[in-house]
Each structure stands twice: as structure tokens, then as C-alpha cells.
């Protein structure tokens, strides 16, 4: 078990370096340091000197990967890639182009992101699993068929519709909640959170319910379920004692992997509801072509995703006795 985790962590390092390299290369191909300087300085004041000075202040005057003017190790260390990208491994995110410290920004914005993501995740999971079990219990009846049609309907509607529709009805017409914004005081925060969480849950409910229903139905067709019924167990006992646990195994793969990435927040929901979380931070950074922030967020995201994959494997050993990690 320990050996397995160690091996997976070791495998993660080259993957992260690769992710880093690709983001770095993509960003600098689309957008050279000169372009970045022009963008930041504004079109009017641009002179070659100003650009040079902007680059020198931020360390963008160095070569990308290999510094031929330096000697020894400095040939590699005195480059943009080394000083900007590889330092991420040490947890140093550096500063954004407007001079703020990215690490501090991430710590501050994590709270609002989690305040949306965790309730969305828990309520969504509980609700979809219960709904799918409900449909499975009434399989083959009109209730089941109506449920599936509703799920497909929900899947087919863009989440943008739910966001704008929700804001219009509950905030504008009924004036039950504010349209957008955030407050860090927990006593007030729920007021701002209830609409975005509801919208996020409703937007995801259709596809998950339909998928989980299929998984449970597949389990119900298996031989051991017939055995359980032959014992004289009631339908609900068969469903909750036998089918649920087996059906949860595949559900777990899809679910555990996203738990660490909950930190990253939701791009869409946070931007539309004005939540100062990591999701809106990323969107804003992309719009402002702030390479330092994008780089940090991509690194953080891929690291958390890899963590999620390792957690998925570990969680398998908890629910499925047949799986042992070596």
C-alpha cells in the first residue's frame, strides 16, 4: 500500500513538469513577453524602452529555456522557465502582473470557492443517488419513464439558462436573494450562496441521475441479486443492502476524483454570481492575459487532479474488498 502511494507520487512529478512545460510553451507562443508588456502598459505609452524596462522589472528579459551568456548551472537557472515555472514546485507562486502575491490571493479566495463547491458537491451527490435509487425502485413504471424524460430534459438545457433564469426569478422578480455578491461573515454568506448552489445542483442533476440509474439497473440484472431475492429479501432490502454498495463502486470513480479539485471553484457560477473565489480569479486572469496567475492555477489544478486520482484508487480498496494495491 505504502509502496503503491509512493510510486504514484513519483509518477506525478514528470506529469506535472510536462503540464508546466506545455502551458509555458503555449502561452509564450501565443503571447511573447513583448506582447505582454504592451498589453500591460497600454497602447499609448508604449516605447521600446518602456517595454524593455517592464520586462527587466519582472524578469522577462531572460531567454526562455537556455541562457547561453551565463556559465555553468546558471545557463539553465537564469531563464524564464526556471525562474517562473519550476519555482511552482517549491510552492512559490510569485506575483501577478499587477504586483499582488499569488499565494496570498489563492489562500484568500479558497474560502468563497469552497463555500460554493462543498455544499454543491454534497447536496448534488446525495440528491442524485437518492433520485436514481428512487427511479430504480419503480423501474419499468410510468414514474421511472417520466423521471428519465425529465433527466434528459434537464441535461439538454444549458447551465447558463439556469443561472440567468434563477437570477431573474428569485433575485429580480421575487427579490428573495441578492443577484450576486459575497460576504465572508458566515451568518450573512448563506444569503448569497443559496442561489448559486441551487443552480449548480439543478444543472448537474439530470446527467448524473440518469447515469447512476443505468449503473444500478446493470447491478440489478446480476446473479447475486437473484440470489438475494431467492432468500426472501424484500425489494428495498435487496436494493439498499446488496445493489447500493455494488453500484456505488463505479460511482466512486467519477466522484472521488473531483473532491480535491473542489478547491478550484467553478468558473461559470463564480463569474456570474460575483463570488470572489478561485474560479472567477482564473477567468479574470485569462481575460487580462496574466500569465503568472494562469500558470499558477493550471499547476494547482493538475496537482489536485493527480491527487484526486490517487484518492480514487485508495477509496476503491475501502469499498471493494477484491482490490488490493501493490
Amino acid at each position: 500500500m505504502f509502496a503503491y502511494i509512493l510510486r504514484r507520487v513519483l509518477y506525478a512529478i514528470p506529469i506535472l513538469i510536462g503540464v508546466n512545460l506545455i502551458t509555458f510553451a503555449l502561452f509564450f507562443m501565443v503571447n511573447s513577453p513583448d506582447d505582454m508588456a504592451r498589453m500591460q502598459l497600454g497602447v499609448k505609452r508604449v516605447t521600446p524602452e518602456a517595454i524593455q524596462q517592464w520586462k527587466a522589472e519582472r524578469g522577462y528579459d531572460k531567454p526562455l529555456f537556455l541562457n547561453e551568456t551565463s556559465a555553468g548551472v546558471a545557463q539553465i537557472t537564469d531563464t524564464i522557465f526556471y525562474s517562473k515555472s519550476l519555482t511552482l514546485f517549491a510552492g512559490e507562486f510569485g506575483r501577478s502582473e499587477d504586483g499582488r502575491e499569488i499565494g496570498r490571493e489563492i489562500r484568500e479566495r479558497m474560502g468563497p470557492s469552497l463555500a460554493i463547491a462543498i455544499p454543491t458537491f454534497l447536496v448534488g451527490l446525495g440528491l442524485t443517488v437518492s433520485l436514481s435509487l428512487f427511479l430504480v425502485l419503480f423501474r419499468g413504471t410510468w414514474l421511472d419513464r417520466t423521471g428519465v424524460v425529465l433527466c434528459v430534459g434537464l441535461m439538454s438545457i444549458s447551465s447558463l439558462f439556469f443561472i440567468i433564469g434563477g437570477q431573474f426569478i428569485f433575485a429580480r422578480m421575487l427579490q428573495l436573494v441578492p443577484i450576486s455578491g459575497y460576504e465572508s461573515n458566515p451568518l450573512v454568506a448563506w444569503h448569497f450562496l443559496i442561489l448559486p448552489v441551487t443552480v449548480a445542483v439543478v444543472a448537474g442533476i439530470g446527467s448524473s441521475t440518469r447515469w447512476y440509474r443505468t449503473l444500478f439497473l446493470e447491478e440489478i440484472g446480476k446473479d447475486y441479486v437473484r440470489t438475494a431475492r431467492a432468500k426472501g429479501l424484500s425489494d428495498t432490502a435487496v436494493l439498499f443492502r446488496h445493489v447500493l454498495r455494488n453500484g456505488l463502486i463505479p460511482i466512486l470513480t467519477g466522484v472521488v476524483v473531483v473532491i480535491p479539485t473542489l478547491f478550484m471553484g467553478s468558473l461559470l457560477i463564480e463569474s456570474f454570481f460575483g463570488i470572489p473565489g478561485l474560479g472567477s480569479y482564473t477567468i479574470d486572469a485569462i481575460a487580462a492575459q496574466d500569465f503568472a496567475v494562469v500558470r499558477a492555477m493550471v499547476f494547482l489544478g493538475s496537482g489536485l487532479y493527480l491527487l484526486g486520482l490517487i484518492l480514487t484508487d485508495l477509496s476503491y480498496t475501502l469499498v471493494d474488498p477484491r482490490i488490493r494495491l501493490k
Binding site: 446480476k222 446473479d223 447475486y224 431467492a230 432468500k231 426472501g232 429479501l233 455494488n246 471493494d320 477484491r322
Partner: protein, 633 residues
């Protein structure tokens, strides 16, 4: 005679289908007027090929039918366990009442112990569930009872078995645990649906003994569903033969097997390889059970019947009672117009076989010398290698799966390898074909060494040795048409295009008895026996000198097995091909093999001429193996 525990009267059920043409819903017959009785302490066997409705009958008694099934008529009367209380009709009681009966009055064990247990629940908990439900025990009291039950079914370490998950037990142990679970509710009736089909011969005998012992202790009525005539003969008191959703003959086992009166029963008996007359091909029953929905209106067996007459098409056959029964319970009867018609006595005997093809003088086509195979015990991952470097140690020695076995195979000869599963039969075959790496030893095919130290055989060697696998449902690519399946081999081996053009493929299909239209179909459109014919055609497409057959008939019904065995005989006579035949069925060995190798734990323990070895086995293991085979009395 006491009142029967269970009386099934005129049970009929059908499946709701949509008509393919008119789209209107209709009911397709699946079981027609099934009637039988089961007494306490008695074993009634339901016998028949797959698709005849045996399992469906058992599931109908338990009311565990698939959703589209509809009861049409009949009664299933279960005698009450208290005296003086009237029997209940299981087709008419509420679902709640039925749940009290399932597991408590009637318990069921299934064919596949591997899939019939909940994979993520401990064995003890699965049994305890029944105890809590039907006997009102607390979990703690149940745990003690679980151990007692597991001990009763002969598991060596009940505590360990109770704490185990199904995947931690072997197939035989799982089936024992299933039986313990069925016994937990102390049922009066045990429905055993092919309980030993998925198990080895030696295990089969043990499990059947166990069921019989428990039955005698508890005076249970057992409904034993099987397709194996030998099992019926050894374990049942009475037998009901089913064909296409009907019982066609029933009576005491000795009478039905000694004086079979329905042509279907006769044909089944005659197609057993044990019944083969030396020098004659097996009597084969042509065709197969017609699929649901296309059963003939009058006699359902008529299209396959050897003794049919015009009258059979006009009127449904009557039940004919045979003389000799002292009580109604021992009544022997058959559903046929021609029962007792003496001219029908023997079914037409098989065609004479062509003379033995083996040429004792010629040099062997396949020589295996001291072949050994060993599986690595641990993974060869990065950390494993680092640890190995660290400790400067070699991998732990694992025991060999195949341990220095040697044999010769001559052209036109059939050599059978027999033994329990896990003895290394299949591994030997795979090593010969270089499908797995062997540790040491040599394999010489037609004078060329194909397995040996540092040997890389010349391209195209696979042309000379081909294999037919056990499960025809899994061994053909489901996305390829038969044309591709057959032509892929010759094309890959670079044979000339005329060897796999349309005419060549049609000739190939003709040799295995399939029509030319088969070329453009997919495997799923064929029955098990037809698929095995396709698998044989695929192997023959490159005209090999040696064909390795790995249990090619063990997934098939007896009548289909006879067809395949006759086909293999015929092909050998035509081409002089040599067979290496892996099997655990001694009837097949007797019929087909010239010589036999008996394998145990990777070693050959006995080898010799088939007749001598079967008549006069020398090694204790061979004797034990032969003793565990149920034999038709």
C-alpha cells in the same frame, strides 16, 4: 405414500413479446402444462438441453421470473408445514407471503457460484441475513449458527470462510457456501439449478454427495436441474425429461433410462460418448431445440424425430402410460404417439467409422520434451526491482505449473490430456503454442524446434499447429463476420489468395457442416454448437498438422457434443490431422482418444493406451478421478 410436498399442475407461462411484423403485443409460450410432484426426502431431476425451460420452471416455482414473463394457468401447491392447514397455491398468494416462503420453505442454489454471491459482502453476513430474516435470530446468535452451517457443508475452516469475501474462496468452496446459505432457512424443498455444471469432476461428486447427505438428514425434497444424464442416473429417484417447454417423459430413473420411451430421451441417451459402439460414430440428434416462439403446433419434437409419421403433424401427442407402476407416484409415462411401437426400438445406429487413421510407423509430428512452465509470483514493477537490487536477492522460487512433461503425438493420432482444473492441461497447450513463455524444455513440431532455449521459430510455423478453445461464445471476435474470422489466419500467414477466396471458404464451411450463407453473418447469430464448428473451421483454414482442442465440447449440450465429436472424427479420417485433446470428460476420452495422459499438479502421473488405462488404471490419482465420474448405470 404421504402427501407430496409440492404439486405442480398444468403450469403454463409465456413471455410478452411484440410481434415483429404487426408490432402488436403477443404472448409466446415458454412453459406448457408442466405437472409434477415432489415428496419429502426425494430427488426429482429435470433433464433436458439448454433452452428447454428447466431453469425457468424452477424460477417460476419461486416466482422470480423476468419481468416479461406471464403466468397463464396452473397451480403450484405447497403443502403446509403444520398439519391440518391447507396447502397454498404459490401462484395466487401475495408477494409478501411469497417472500416468507422464499428461503424459508423453498431455497435455491444456482449454477455459477462465482456470480451468485454478492462480491462485496462477507460470506458470513450473506448467510446471517437469511437467519435474521427467517429464523428471527440476532446477529450474534446468527454468527454462531453461520459457523455451524459452514461446518455442516464441509468447509474445513468455518470461521475463516465466514470472514472471507466470495473472491477469496475457490469455486467448490463457494458452492458449499451457497448450499449453507440455502440451508440457513431450514427449507423443506431445495431447488438446485445445475449446481455442479461449473465445477470439476472431482468437485462435482463431492457437491452432489453433500446435497444427498443433507437431504437425507433433513428429509428435504430436491428438484435437481441438470443436463447431465450420468448425474441423473446416480443421484435422482425420479426424472422428468423436458423438451421445448414441455415435460415429454417422466418416471422412476431406472425405468426412464433403461426403457426410454420418448424418442428425445432415446436420442439423448444414444448421443452419449459412453454409449458409442466401438467402430461406429456417435448417434447424433440433428438440429437443435427450436428457439422460443417457433415451436411446432403439435408434437414439438417432430422436426428432429427419427420415427415421426404423418399423423404426428395432425394431432398433439397423448400421454401414454407404461405398465409396471405399482403406485401413481411411480408412474412412467411419455408424450408420444409411438410409445410401445416395437419397430421404433433402436434409434438408427451411427455410421461406421473409417478405420483408425493413426500411422504408428511414421515419426511423431509433435514432440514435447521436459517442458516446464512457471509463473512469476510477484509483479516486476519498479519498486520490486529496486528492492531486489537492495537485497541482492533472486525472486522467490514459485512452484512450476507444468513440471517437465514429455510426450509424442503421431500423425492421425488423438492424444487426450485429462486432469482437474489447475493441473496444467491448458498451460501445456499454451506453452506449446508459445502463447506463454516456458521455463525450460523443448517442443519439436514436424522436425523443427519451436520451443526451446533461445529458439525463435521461422515465420509461418503457426500454420502447422492450431487451437480450438473451450468457450465458443467468447473465443470468436463478435465484431467480425465469419468471412473475416476464417480468412484472417491464412492471410496473416501469407498463404496464397486462392486458399481463402470465396470458394475456398465455402468448401471450408461445408467440411464443418455449415451453409455458405454463414460467411456474411456475425458469431452472435449462431448457436453454441455452430460457433464451435466455426472455431474448428477457423483452425482448419490453414491446414494444420496438429490441432489442440481445449475442452471444445464442455460448454455444449450432449446432443451438440455428439455432433462436434463426430465432426472431429470425420475430419481426422479425411486429413490425418493429429489431435491433442484436453478434457475432463472420460466419455469423450473413451470415444475419441487413442492414448491418454493423466496430469496432476503439473506432472504426468500416468500415460498409456486409452482402453487399457481406463480399464486398468495404475496410479491412485487416475483411479480417484475415474471413481468420481458419475456413470450411467
Amino acid at each position: 405414500m404421504s402427501k407430496p410436498l409440492l404439486q405442480v399442475r398444468n403450469l403454463s407461462l409465456g413471455f410478452a413479446r411484440r410481434d415483429e411484423v404487426s408490432e402488436s403485443p403477443r404472448i409466446v409460450d415458454a412453459l406448457s402444462a408442466i405437472s409434477f410432484q415432489l415428496h419429502a426426502g426425494e430427488t426429482l431431476a429435470l433433464l433436458g438441453e439448454s433452452g428447454c425451460g428447466k431453469s425457468l420452471t424452477a424460477l417460476a416455482l419461486m416466482r422470480l421470473l423476468p419481468q416479461q414473463a406471464r403466468f397463464q394457468s396452473g397451480h403450484v401447491l405447497l403443502e403446509s408445514s403444520e398439519s391440518g392447514v391447507r396447502s397454498e397455491d404459490l401462484l395466487r398468494v401475495s408477494e409478501d407471503r411469497m417472500r416468507q416462503i422464499r428461503g424459508r420453505r423453498m431455497a435455491m442454489i444456482f449454477q455459477e457460484p462465482a456470480t451468485s454471491l454478492n462480491p462485496v459482502m462477507r460470506i458470513g453476513e450473506q448467510i446471517n441475513e437469511v437467519l435474521r430474516l427467517h429464523r428471527g435470530l440476532t446477529t450474534a446468535a446468527g454468527d454462531a449458527e453461520v459457523l455451524a452451517l459452514l461446518d455442516q457443508v464441509g468447509l474445513p475452516d468455518p470461521a475463516r470462510a465466514a470472514a472471507a469475501y466470495p473472491f477469496e474462496l475457490s469455486g467448490g468452496m463457494k458452492q458449499r457456501a451457497m448450499i449453507a446459505m440455502a440451508l440457513a432457512g431450514d427449507p423443506d424443498i431445495l431447488l438446485a439449478d445445475e449446481p455442479t455444471t461449473a465445477l470439476d469432476v472431482t468437485l462435482q461428486a463431492q457437491i452432489l454427495d453433500l446435497i444427498r447427505d443433507l437431504q437425507q438428514q433433513r428429509q428435504m425434497g430436491v428438484l435437481l436441474i441438470t443436463h447431465d444424464l450420468a448425474v441423473v442416473s446416480a443421484r435422482a429417484d425420479r426424472v422428468a425429461v423436458m423438451y421445448a417447454g414441455q415435460i415429454v417423459e417422466s418416471g422412476p430413473v431406472a425405468q426412464v433410462l433403461n426403457q426410454p420411451s420418448h424418442p428425445y430421451t432415446r436420442a439423448l441417451l444414444a448421443s452419449l460418448p459412453e454409449k458409442a459402439i466401438p467402430g461406429k460414430a456417435l448417434t447424433q440428434l440433428a438440429g437443435r431445440v427450436p428457439p422460443l416462439g417457433s415451436w411446432p403446433m403439435t408434437c414439438r419434437f417432430e422436426p428432429r424425430c427419427a420415427i415421426r409419421e404423418p399423423h404426428c403433424l395432425e394431432e398433439s401427442p397423448p400421454w401414454v402410460f407404461l405398465p409396471g407402476a405399482e403406485t401413481p407416484h411411480e408412474q412412467h409415462h411419455a408424450l408420444c404417439w409411438r410409445v410401445g411401437d416395437d419397430s421404433t426400438a433402436p434409434v438408427d445406429a451411427g455410421e461406421p467409422l473409417s478405420a483408425s487413421t493413426q500411422s504408428t510407423g511414421s515419426p511423431p509430428v509433435l514432440q514435447v520434451v521436459d517442458l516446464s512452465v512457471r509463473y512469476e509470483s510477484a509483479s516486476k514493477g519498479l519498486l520490486y526491482r529496486l528492492r531486489q537490487l537492495w537485497h541482492r536477492a533472486e525472486a522467490l522460487p514459485s512452484s512450476p505449473v507444468v513440471d517437465a512433461i514429455s510426450f509424442d503425438l503421431r500423425p492421425g493420432e488423438t492424444l487426450a490430456i485429462v486432469g482437474e482444473s489447475g493441473c496444467g492441461k491448458t498451460t501445456t497447450a499454451r506453452a506449446i503454442l508459445r502463447l506463454i513463455e516456458s521455463e525450460s524444455g523443448q517442443v519439436i513440431l514436424d522436425g523443427k524446434e519451436i520451443v526451446g532455449r533461445g529458439i525463435r521459430p521461422a515465420k509461418g510455423w503457426r500454420r502447422d499447429v492450431q487451437m480450438v478453445f473451450q468457450d465458443p461464445f467468447a473465443s470468436l471476435d463478435p465484431r467480425q463476420r465469419i468471412r473475416q474470422i476464417l480468412s484472417e489466419g491464412p492471410r496473416a500467414l501469407g498463404l496464397s489468395a486462392t486458399d481463402y477466396d470465396n470458394n475456398a471458404l465455402i468448401r471450408l464451411l461445408d467440411r464443418v457442416g455449415l451453409p455458405p450463407e454463414a460467411l456474411n453473418r456475425f458469431p452472435h447469430e449462431f448457436s453454441g454448437g455452430q460457433r464451435q464448428r466455426i472455431a474448428i473451421a477457423r483452425a482448419l483454414a490453414v491446414s494444420p498438422k496438429v490441432l489442440i482442442c481445449d475442452e471444445p465440447t464442455s460448454a455444449l449440450d450432449v446432443s451438440v457434443q455428439a455432433q462436434i465429436l463426430n465432426l472431429l472424427q470425420k475430419l481426422q479420417a479425411e486429413t490425418g490431422i493429429a489431435y491433442l485433446f484436453i478434457t475432463h470428460n472420460f466419455g469423450v476420452v473413451r470415444y475419441l482418444a487413442d492414448r491418454v495422459l493423466v496430469m496432476q499438479s503439473g506432472r504426468v502421473v500416468e500415460a498409456g493406451n486409452t482402453e487399457q488405462l481406463l480399464k486398468n488404471p495404475q496410479h491412485a490419482y487416475t483411479r480417484a478421478l475415474l471413481a468420481s465420474v458419475p456413470v450411467l448405470s
